[in-house]
């Protein structure tokens, strides 16, 4: 029971990061593809305005995931970080470049500076979810054995499943971002941007869906156990929920109802994460290490769950306040201090 609760905590952190952190990376994707400096300016300004107050808090879900893993499942953590050192280190470098460039580009004084920092921000925003996705794909495909760097340094995360999950991570992040930004644009009364994000949301949503369907074929040949898990029982239910939520999202985007689409788009992504967990249950690192085997002793799990339970009592109201302020447009600063 305790190991499952700890695993649920890790899953919560992962979902938080994939949905909220993923949307921030998606913001970078739309920044990258917004076009020339002049044409892309309104879109980039909207992305900056929406992301600035929340990206740091959204990023903490990743740290929280790492902490839960190394405390509750230390052997699995050590095995993952050593075998998948290459993609995870590349993602870490990307996180530095993304966050650094985003925070600093606000102070850029010339077009050239803004371009350099903007390009760094945008490019690393695409690379981070891709590499983290390949790492997740490697775990799902059973490429991470227990041990200190026991799996292939490159072969473990360059298989079809890894590449697929990497691409899906980029696509879902971009889709979430387009939906969230569309809602922000609507609230700000910017109908030109609403149209721009509608097109992007529909396009990226369709792409994410197509990748997911094509992905099932890839999984069938590359990771048959995972495929079986996703096409039966709870795994199948999650996939169905995700597909349904995806379709509803597309319909809502078509009719420009972005407020509602935010929730269905998030549900579609969260259901896939849950489906992954259900598909490889009872394993944490398939094919060998189960959640129960990997779990820390009860004393540690109890302490961690108590600390996190208490922490949530503070965190949840704080997060709600932050998002309410951000959504109502009350968090933004003028570039010059008002006298």
């Amino acid at each position: 029971m305790l190991p499952e609760l700890a695993a649920a905590l890790a899953l919560l952190a992962l979902t938080g990061y994939v949905v909220l952190g993923g949307a921030d990376f998606g913001g970078g994707f739309w920044d990258l593809t917004a076009g020339g400096a002049e044409r892309g300016a309104p879109i980039r300004a909207m992305i900056k305005r929406s992301m600035s107050p929340v990206w740091e808090a959204n990023h903490v879900w990743l740290i929280f995931l790492l902490v839960v893993l190394w405390t509750a499942f230390p052997e699995a953590f050590g095995s993952i970080m050593s075998t998948l050192a290459v993609p995870i280190f590349l993602a870490a470098l990307g996180i530095v470049l993304r966050g650094g460039a985003f925070a600093l580009k606000g102070e850029a004084a010339t077009i050239a500076e803004a371009r350099f920092l903007g390009a760094t921000f945008a490019l690393s925003s695409v690379l981070v979810p891709f590499f983290l996705g390949t790492a997740a794909g490697a775990i799902a495909a059973g490429e991470v054995p227990v041990g200190n760097a026991s799996g292939g340094a490159f072969s473990s995360w360059t298989g079809p499943t890894s590449i697929l999950v990497g691409l899906i991570s980029v696509a879902t992040g971009a889709h979430l971002a387009a939906v969230f930004l569309g809602a922000d644009a609507q609230r700000a009364g910017r109908s030109d941007l609403v149209r721009a994000f509608r097109t992007r949301a529909l396009g990226s949503g369709a792409a994410a869906g197509a990748l997911a369907i094509a992905g099932l074929a890839v999984l069938n040949s590359d990771a048959p156990n995972l495929f079986d898990g996703l096409t039966s029982g709870l795994g199948l239910a999650c996939v169905a929920v995700s597909a349904l939520a995806g379709l509803v999202t597309l319909a809502l985007e078509w009719t420009e109802r972005f407020e509602l689409a935010r929730f269905s788009a998030a549900l579609a992504v969260a259901a896939i994460v849950a489906g992954w967990a259900a598909a490889q249950e009872p394993y944490l690192l398939p094919p060998g290490l189960t959640v129960t085997e990997a779990a820390a002793p009860d004393a540690t799990l109890v302490a961690l769950l108590i600390a996190c339970g208490a922490g949530m009592l503070v965190l949840v109201p704080a997060l709600i306040w932050l998002f309410r302020l951000a959504v109502s447009g009350r968090l933004a600063y003028d570039d010059e201090p008002r006298p």
Binding site: S52, E56, A57, H59, V60, L62, I63, L66, V67, W70, T71, A72, P74, E75, F77, G78, S79, M81, S82, T83, A85, V86, I88, A92, L93, I95, V96, L97, G99, G100, A103, L104, E107, A109, G147, N148, A149, A153, A296, P297, A299, T300, A303, L304, A307, C308, G311, V314, L315, A318, L319, L322, L325, L331, A332, Y333, E336, P337, R338, P339
Partner: protein, 433 residues
């Protein structure tokens, strides 16, 4: 002996590079932690002055500082992330074997980081949009979380130096008590030492910037206010740090005698051990006095353990001296200011004071790093003191030098650009209505 949860030691040709990469990552991150500890309190203090006096100058200053604060926080977020990743990327066997012993502290730290990130955003982006009192109140969790977060990381470092809350049985870690591991013997003194260091480094660096302006003839009122606030914080913390340093050294003398012997390079166990100053001058009995508050106390020497269990003595010794020397000088500088302020209610007028102040910023950073080298290299060859060696903890993955160079290049760019942007922020005109 410990077996290691992932199967024991592996061949790693680049252990030293792994340690250096970790050290570089700390050197970039730790000064930002100092700002995370001290800057929110400084900003809130100035905003509080605004609410009390209604003087818009205080508001402008708090607002300006809060912009620098969020920029430094963002850089701290990403460099702190690198540290979290490196725990596993460089030391997977350490994490796999002991993550369940000390991980709880990081759980609490994770929530602190969440709270800090949330409220720093509300605070910085909420200027003029939240009612003034609500805005001030939104800064309070940011201050508290900045402290609890660093406290938890320090708790883990204290545990690595004084591992408690578990037993080794047949090479396995058993009988884990995570709360005991969290509240280890080093918890309080390491925390207070780092907390004061945060105020000293952030205070002197900020004061040094305004001191530089002062030398160039800047005497506007906002300049003076900023200087006095930053300087007061640093000046109060620096003398107090001497007392905390004494407390820390005495704890090390009891818990880690080999580390203490490395501070002085003391080979043999000595009754009434001397302390040597620069230039070969040796003061009899001083080390015994410092370590045990008794000139006749016996101080254990390095040779109580075999050579392979000793830290690199010279590096530890000179780092320790650097820290103590700079710390003492900063305390003297702080005392100079406090004395002048108390006696005459004005800033010191000597240009030498401001020259010293400009030097004090970078020097306090050097002392901070020297202090961390003292405790971290002084712990070598152990990652978990007398339980697990760094060569048993290191990753079996290849490519450490490549990663090291890549990260060094990225950090060089990050630090350079952040410095340019901060300088630009500082040069923006200060609109006082």
């Amino acid at each position: 002996m410990i077996d290691g949860a992932l199967g024991g030691p592996v061949d790693q040709d680049y252990l030293l590079q792994a340690r250096q990469m970790q050290a570089m990552s700390f050197i970039v991150h730790i000064p930002l932690v100092c700002f995370g500890i001290a800057f929110p309190a400084m900003v809130l203090f100035v905003e509080g002055l605004w609410l009390r006096t209604g003087d818009p100058l205080y508001k402008l200053l708090a607002k300006r500082w809060s912009k620098a604060m969020v920029l430094l926080f963002a850089v701290g977020v990403v460099t702190g992330t690198i540290l979290s990743f490196e725990m596993g990327l460089l030391w997977p066997e350490f994490m796999a074997t002991f993550g369940d012993v000390f991980g709880l502290a990081f759980g609490v730290e994770g929530f602190s980081f969440f709270i800090e990130a949330i409220f720093i955003a509300i605070y910085v982006y909420g200027w003029d949009r939240l009612p003034p009192r609500v805005h001030l109140a939104s800064g309070v969790p940011m201050v508290i979380a900045g402290v609890t977060g660093s406290l938890m990381v320090i708790a883990v470092n204290g545990w690595m130096n004084q591992p408690t809350g578990f037993r080794i049985q047949g090479g396995e870690v058993v009988d884990i008590h995570p709360w005991k591991a969290l509240f280890n013997d080093n918890f309080w003194h390491e925390f207070v030492h780092m907390y004061l260091a945060g105020f000293i480094v952030a205070g002197f660096l900020v004061a040094g910037v305004y001191g530089f302006g002062w030398l160039k003839g800047r005497r506007e009122r906002h300049h003076r206010v900023a200087l006095v606030v930053a300087l007061t914080i640093a000046a109060l913390a620096a003398p107090a740090q001497l007392l905390v340093g004494d407390w820390a050294a005495r704890t090390v003398a009891v818990n880690q005698p080999v580390k203490l012997a490395a501070f002085e390079g003391l080979q043999d166990t000595t009754k009434g051990a001397p302390f040597s100053l620069a230039g070969g001058i040796e003061i009899p009995d001083l080390l015994s006095l410092l370590a045990f508050h008794d000139p006749n106390a016996t101080v254990k020497g390095l040779n109580i353990v075999p050579a392979e269990d000793r830290p690199p003595v010279e590096l530890v010794k000179y780092s320790f001296r650097t820290m103590v020397a700079i710390g003492s000088a900063l305390a003297a500088l702080g005392a100079w200011f406090l004395w002048t302020w108390w006696r005459h209610y004005r800033l010191p007028s000597s240009r030498w004071f401001y020259r010293a102040l400009v030097a004090a910023g970078p020097l306090s950073f050097v002392a901070l790093i020297a202090g961390w080298i003292t405790t971290e290299v002084g712990r070598q060859p152990w990652v978990v003191y007398e339980v697990m060696r760094t060569d048993e903890a290191v990753t079996g993955a290849g490519g450490i030098p490549v990663g090291f160079v890549a990260l060094a290049l990225v950090y060089a760019g990050l630090v350079a650009i952040a410095a340019v942007m901060l300088r630009r922020l500082g040069r923006q005109p200060f609109h006082a209505s």
